[in-house]
């Protein structure tokens, strides 16, 4: 077992303190907000939830780099139905159940980048590491879930969020907006979380060439793969780090999409060459 996995297990369930089941959350007003169900929880009224969903969704469309707004959109639109569907998908799967039981967290503290670097080239861990390097990002702590009332569903949201970078690594999709939109489309087909669908709306911000690539290549890829593959939320990433990445993709039934970064690079060079040629004339 990878050392990191052990570390993760040791930290399990640190902040989701198990409570006795409470009665169905009844309607309340802002004047008598009930106590939080877990650390960091902010119970919302239906109206507040709706208003936040709309404003955060619009805000994140205009500014797709506002991760906080994307998080809010995600949380406020996931209830009452969609997050339960995702939780149930986990409960139907032996590994999904184990994840729910262990409640591992994936943060820069629990994922040891130095260890990832030592893994063989074909492994999931190494692919993740290389993706981090290539994209120049760090596995940073993701936004804390706060607007989902059910403590278990709050964890599911957190897990989904923390798995997102592994989806990037598995598909090789870059974090540029074009890659994000394609990945969101994949996640939408796979998780049915509304926020991922809303985030696809960011396709309107794409440049014409990107947009046609999205419609012609990446959207069809995302929808077919998202639907035909297994539920990616049920991957215990911490246990898969030493696994052959192709093997995992095959197990999940995901095809790797065309390398977007490479495509963009080739096109960029072609354009540059054309421009140079034009200028030389």
């Amino acid at each position: 077992m990878a050392p990191i996995h052990r570390a993760v297990r040791a930290r399990k369930a640190a902040q989701y303190v198990t409570r006795q089941p409470q009665r169905c959350a009844a309607a309340f007003s802002v004047l008598n907000r009930p106590p939080p169900s877990y650390e960091g929880h902010i119970p919302l009224t239906t109206i507040e939830r709706g208003a936040m969903a709309v404003s955060a969704a619009l805000g994140s469309l205009w500014n797709p780099y506002r991760g906080d707004l994307i998080s809010i959109t995600g949380e406020t639109t996931a209830t009452p139905y969609f997050i339960y569907r995702l939780r149930d998908a986990m409960l139907r799967d032996p590994t999904g159940r184990r994840i729910l039981r262990d409640r591992p967290r994936m943060t820069s503290k629990t994922i040891d980048v130095k260890y990832l670097r030592t893994l063989p080239a074909n492994t999931v861990g190494r692919a993740f590491f290389e993706w981090l390097e290539r994209e120049g990002v760090e596995q940073d702590s993701r936004e804390q879930v706060k607007y989902i009332d059910d403590e278990e569903c709050a964890y599911v949201m957190q897990r989904y969020r923390e798995s997102h970078d592994f989806f990037h690594a598995l598909t090789g999709l870059p974090i540029v907006q074009e890659g994000e939109v394609a990945l969101k489309a994949f996640e939408f087909a796979n998780t049915v979380l509304p926020m991922t669908g809303l985030a696809m709306g960011a396709a309107i911000n794409l440049k014409p060439a990107e947009r046609s690539r999205f419609w012609e290549t990446y959207l069809p890829w995302a929808l077919t793969n998202g639907l035909k593959s297994k539920e990616v939320i049920n991957v215990y990433w911490e246990e898969q780090l030493e696994r052959d990445v192709g093997e995992l993709r095959a197990e999940l039934n995901i095809e790797k999409p065309p390398d977007l970064r490479e495509t963009r690079r080739v096109l960029r060079e072609k354009r540059r060459a054309e421009k140079a040629a034009r200028q030389a004339q």
């Binding site: 089941p21 009665r23 139907r92 403590e151």
Partner: protein, 511 residues
Amino acid sequence: MRPFRPQYFLREARRSRVRQVVGGAHRSYASSATNPEVYDLVCVGGGPAGLSLVNALRSNGSTSHLKIALIDSQDLSKISHGQHNASPTDYSNRCSSLTPASMAFLDTIGASPHLNTSRVRPYNHMNVWDGITGQHITFDWATAHGFPSLEPNPITASAISSAESKTIAYMTENSNLVSALLARSAALDASTSHPLTLYSSTKVDNVELGTQSEDPEGVDLRSWPLVTLSNGATLAARLLVGADGPNSFVRTFAGIQSRGWDYERMGVVATLELESPTAAEPESATAYQRFLPSGPAALLPLPGNYATLVWSTHPSYAARLRELNEEDAIAMVNAAFRLSSVDLEYLHTISSGQADEVAWRLQHTQFNNDLVPPQVMGIKKGSVAAFPLRMRHADTYTGERVALVGDAAHTMHPLAGQGLNSGLLDAAALARTISDAVNSGADIGDTLSLEGYNTARYAANHALLGAVDKLHKVYSWQSGPVVWGRSLGLGVVERWGGLKGLFMGGASGGA
């Protein structure tokens, strides 16, 4: 087992028309195919339906003289013996709820004083809820009262309206009922000159129509069913009653088709020991039923801390439940009333470890503690069994010299606990029809004489079977419009009173 009594013969009927055919069928020698022992009524099957029919006839002045034989392949004395020696901590896994109408009928025929009341648990609350939407109805006599009793039989109707009791139904072992009916029969034997001929541990091997007419003095047995028993005896029946359960031999003989379908579900039964009784007072208790997509799970109270389980579920799930060790099986029963159907589905697929999984899931599952039964602490060894569930309805209950009662006539899903109750009501109605025929001097085996029975019970049972079948189907859906409707549904059903009526045996007569 009672010895064969050749000295009794058909009593001379008072009316002339009967006298013609009765004649002097006096036999003092062992019966055979050519020399059958002649009876007014031969009842195949000594289950609740058959025994209560025989007791009803024998308790009624108009029919107490009829010469009756009852045959059952089981050793009936074993059932009585078992009941008398049963310890108060040991209950059989075959239990039924007797509705107030059934109890009233048992009163009328003098059987209820023979019930071992320490082994009967009345209940006056019922919690029924939907495993997907969580919609529930909780009802007691006070709220369930006030919708009309639809049972047309005067014996039971008067009893229902006079019932001051707040009881929804009485839970008891089928063996307690059968044993009480046998005891009543024995008491009648002692007090009348028309004892019952009881063939216990004897199978009906064959039934065919008599072909030859007897000597001029005797009965013309052409068109009479001749019943051949496993001990070699042959009985001729003026009226042959099929009370021989779902695979009725008599029904097959009569060429009566039985139609319906298999639910592809098994009813898993078990005797449970609870952490505490469902109610503090012995005369009040609560029955629980949760509709899961695979079928309803019901926990019904028995005396003390005991309860009986009837869990309808997929055959593969049922097989798995029966293989679990006690700890895991207990966990599954507790889970059935508490965990989500997603969890339950998963738990049905693993071969062990349910106890651990359930303990974890209970920490993350919201359920209403006031709605669920007390924790199950133990399952009686060897009490877990499973029965296939089906719906069948015979095309008719009567034919020439044939009548069907109980499961021989109709089999239904146990979700409303009405199978046995409807069989008792059949027996009450048939006994009445026979009594009417005797009083008017008609031949009790004549199709016309039996018509009244078919009229009294067929439509009522048909409505009941339909209601039970629909409930099963409505609650088998897991998602979509049916479930949305259901989340309003139980509320509507609750206001309508239909479901309550069903559980109390009142919906059987249609609106």
